[in-house]
Subunit: 603 residues, 2 copies
């Protein structure tokens, strides 16, 4: 690569036309790629008046400067849009093969606009970009669609029935079983009548300094091999390796966060998955870690379940039947559903049923009802039609919003904020709603990577959370997998970026780019009408102390941490980045107008 | 080892008698060993009425549970006493071979009390402990003393002329050229008429679970090899590898902290040492890193110089003559002087001379006067007699205390707090006075290990400093080398401890032990009359902004960080740990009495 260049392709589904254009090199330097580039493009393309499920929303698939290079875990790509679940800015990223091929088709940003009249497929190949009719695919599951479009050298990204039916917890799936999961991007794709995007691409990715990249890769490789988390826990037991660890410290939310330890955790652990169902391990393109599980139950074979899925359908639903959990996971992949939100929404329904708020047979522990519940959500049948809207809209409908375990409408992942104080702050301030991938505190608060921080410490936690958020934003923009960063220090990511682009990028600059992206996302949400009051947690976590175990008596001390967090970020007391901060970050043109934005009816 | 046992030997130099006794296992569990054990014993043995240079002060040499085991860098041991330089609690630690032999003589704590009538030597051998006459050694340099006492299987620890002459910046030296350097422990040894301690010991150290220790060692070994700091920078260039790095970011204090970049840094860098003087690298017992430099100048061969020494005699004195610096380092080792305090005190004298406050030829850059200055300090001749008291007492005598770059009377090491905000807080709160080994922020603030934190960040820095302080206290108690922890996470230190003692110790417990030790040291200093006003930095750093370079305009923002720091530690606004905190740490018996301690005339 000579300098830092990038190319965007824009497809307008309304007109069926597409165009290609060069990306501004200065924009690339400031926002890197992936999530950062997506956020920057979205800032211009999708303003506050746009309904997420209208044709005016856009889907922006971005690769990053490291995508499809020799650097470890460089298979990844991201999608950005306004979220139909939360109303916030959204990005989600995924591994597999599709992103690598998009990059090899020479595309750094694929912008999908408008709405097709009939179900359609975008095909990217050597001859360019074409929009084809996909009416025959409409209604198909993800494996069916993938198989129908499968061809040598081609990768498939698509939605399942859930996305078609505009479920706000619908994922976009790629390579059959990988998910751009959270926040409902599948519904945005469905709203555009877009069933699938296929990519063929085998152009060589340009690297400014191949020798240097090879050396950085070698250094990173040593570190991945030396680190027990990336070299032992993940390959041996997959992400579910941490079920027992998180449970022991009392941070595994159980029965819709009513408790924080699951008495049958052992039965749903990574060790149990390995014992009972593991066929072989597998990996994304270019990944030496190989945390993917290929599993087989009595009825079928598939990938997963991951830690989050095991938790969502397991502990959170009070279910210890690993076979049912694993099949629920397969079903989510088939139907194109976010497994976290699906499981957590069912858990919410279980609590409402137990409390007599809704009339349903659902109860904690009812593994026998699990698969039907997932299927009903995917096809929007019966109660599934309500649940497909996510737990907040569902619970609100029954006047029981306090039982929706969400932040900004996004279901919380598998860590109890009462036992991991930093994780609570992370959830509350995450720009796409409760999220464990915007700087997960599992590393510092539980496994001690890169350094152990007391879980229950409140004072001084904000800075550590913000640092991890900035790093995550940078990593999501490169794009590489966050597991790499459990072993390989940020420095090597900066060095890899420098080798690829030929533009010197220090570690500090890379983390500064992460901070820039975080602030831009914040500005986006402020423009949408979000404010300090949205940086909060469900009342349960703030008011109901943990009843037993190592965190007995603890609630989340969010309010103190939030003040400290705004100070750390040099935001004002309302959580608004002031002009000076924006200028420092090169975001002066995005300054929030003095009167700010009128509060919108977002939900 | 069956359970956690330890043995102390107490030698009373006044009576010439010694005794041996078992250490309380609960005390070992709480305070681990090394620095922690030394602090705990000192709490009982040396109260606030004791003059550090009186016979009532004690010297406590402690090994730790990992000393002389197969774990990496386990050669280390520590000495604890009340400091004659600062009046605070003091510990210093060292590698080499002496500590390993002390442990193999079956000793976890060697307590030296009283004062011998004539110069004496303590000899520890297979037959027990003997006190012998050392009048013939008095006046000898460190190499002469070491050679005189040298024998196969025996290691020598001693003082040089500086310690004999009660210089408050005198080190205790072991194995010829290794220093227990800071805070003047050499003077305490001198005040006891104790010239040397020899140790023979070859008993096998008991390990509860050898197989487990071997495995932890193997894991640590992979991490040390994978980490570029421990596998490349340190072995290739020694500790001075960081001279250029620290200079580039504008944190290399120059000319007594008047500036923070040295224009001739390249000439005194680790790279230059390697090019010009390196004979071979060397290592402490059981250390795979091997950062020791064996060097040769035109006149002689020796070990060093280390980063701190290169800085103290180099940048801090405005001197770029690497040969003079290296020989000044040899001289410090010969005479038994702390190289940091010696160089920094000379730098202070240079500034006073330049300002016309003292009448002396000393000037920044006067390499030709360097060796004589060091020699004069060691033998207390001429101006050296004043300088041997350290820069604070020296500058005060000339009514110019503001030019002493010290905290609590200890000379600051080679990092400018204006360009590393966390380092300034670290210096201000360090329990033995300004210190870079109580949780050095070089890792987080400059080299990005374990994770990069913005150097100039003020808000939120306190927690990170406190975490590193706690970890350092734990590491100093095990005792291992802090460089190990640049690559090997705390978890593996806890696992090694568990393997050796057979007593399960989690990472969180180990860091909690570090916090306990830190609080105990704080209580010791409070009992001595130290208070919040002593947690400060020289006025220059708080009021004189950096004039150029990347930190232009910055001063240390200590006051804000200090408030935050006390909050993080759950101390009150005066920096006193409240009863609740002490109870939580198992320190309830050390509670500060309500009226607190009358302010003492400490200096």
């Amino acid at each position: 690569m000579q300098g830092w260049m990038g190319r965007a392709v824009e497809v307008d589904l309304t007109s069926g036309k597409s165009r290609s254009f060069a990306l501004d090199p200065e924009m690339l330097r400031l926002f890197v790629g992936g999530r950062g580039l997506g956020a920057r493009l979205l800032w211009d393309l999708v303003g506050p008046d746009v309904d997420p499920l209208s044709p005016e929303n856009v889907l922006i698939f971005c690769t990053g400067p490291l995508t499809a290079t020799a650097f470890q875990t460089s298979s990844r790509f991201s999608v950005s849009c306004k979220s139909p679940l939360t109303g916030t800015i959204l990005d989600a990223n995924s591994g597999g093969f599709w992103g690598m091929r998009l990059k090899r088709a020479g595309i750094d940003a694929l912008i999908i606009r408008g709405r097709a009249v009939t179900p359609s497929c975008v095909e990217i190949g050597p001859g360019g970009v074409a929009v084809s009719n996909a009416s025959h695919l409409w209604g198909m599951t993800v494996p069916e669609t993938t198989q129908a479009l499968d061809a040598k050298g081609r990768s498939v990204l698509c939605i399942g029935p859930a996305g078609e039916k505009l479920s706000r917890i619908a994922a976009i799936m790629n390579d059959g079983q990988r998910a751009l999961g959270r926040g409902g991007p599948g519904a945005v794709m469905g709203s555009k009548n877009l069933k699938a995007i296929t990519v063929e691409g085998d152009a060589k990715v340009e690297i400014a300094d191949r020798e240097r990249l090879r050396f950085v890769r070698y250094e990173a490789s040593k570190q991945l091999t030396a680190n027990p988390f990336t070299s032992q826990a993940l390959p041996q037991f997959g992400t579910a390796a941490i079920i027992n660890i998180v449970n022991v410290v009392g941070a595994l939310p159980t029965r819709n966060f009513q408790e924080s330890r699951f008495e049958q955790a052992e039965e749903i652990s990574g060790e149990s998955i390995t014992d009972r169902f593991l066929v072989k391990k597998s990996a994304c393109w270019s990944c030496p870690i190989a945390c993917t599980r290929v599993t087989r139950t009595k009825t079928r074979e598939g990938e997963g379940p991951e830690y989050e899925t095991v938790w969502a359908f397991g502990a959170d639903c009070g279910i210890a039947d690993l076979e049912a959990i694993t099949e629920a996971n397969y079903l989510c992949n088939d139907l194109g559903l976010d497994a976290i939100s699906t499981g957590a929404t069912i858990a919410c329904a279980m609590e409402l049923a137990e409390r007599g708020i809704i009339d349903s047979d659902l109860r904690f522990g009812r593994a026998d009802l699990l698969l039907d519940a997932v299927r009903d959500i995917g096809y929007r049948r019966g109660i599934g039609d309500e649940l497909a809207e996510g737990s907040l809209r569902f619970a609100r409908r029954h006047d029981a919003a306090e039982y929706s375990m969400t932040v900004k409408g996004l279901e919380m992942p598998a860590y109890d904020p009462r036992g991991m104080q930093g994780q609570g702050l992370l959830y509350a301030t995450s720009n796409r709603g409760a999220c464990h991938t915007r700087g997960n505190m599992l590393g510092p608060e539980i496994v001690g990577l890169p350094k152990l921080v007391p879980r229950l410490q409140v004072q001084g936690k904000a800075g550590i959370v913000a640092l991890h958020q900035n790093a995550a934003a940078a990593i999501d923009s490169l794009v590489v997998c966050k597991f790499v960063n459990m072993a390989v220090a940020d420095e090597f990511l900066a060095r890899a970026l420098t080798a690829v682009t030929g533009v010197t990028y220090s570690t500090a600059e890379l983390l500064r780019a992460g901070e820039r992206i975080w602030n831009l996302e914040r500005l986006y949400n402020l423009r949408e009408g979000f404010s300090r009051i949205d940086d909060t947690l469900p009342r349960r976590l703030l008011e109901e102390p943990v009843t037993d175990g190592p965190n007995k008596g603890w609630v989340s001390h969010l309010p103190e941490m939030l003040d400290e967090y705004y100070r750390w970020r040099a935001w004002d007391d309302d959580g608004v980045p002031p002009a000076g901060k924006l200028a420092e970050l090169g975001l002066q043109e995005m300054e929030t107008p003095p009167g700010r934005i009128a509060e919108k009816a977002r939900r």
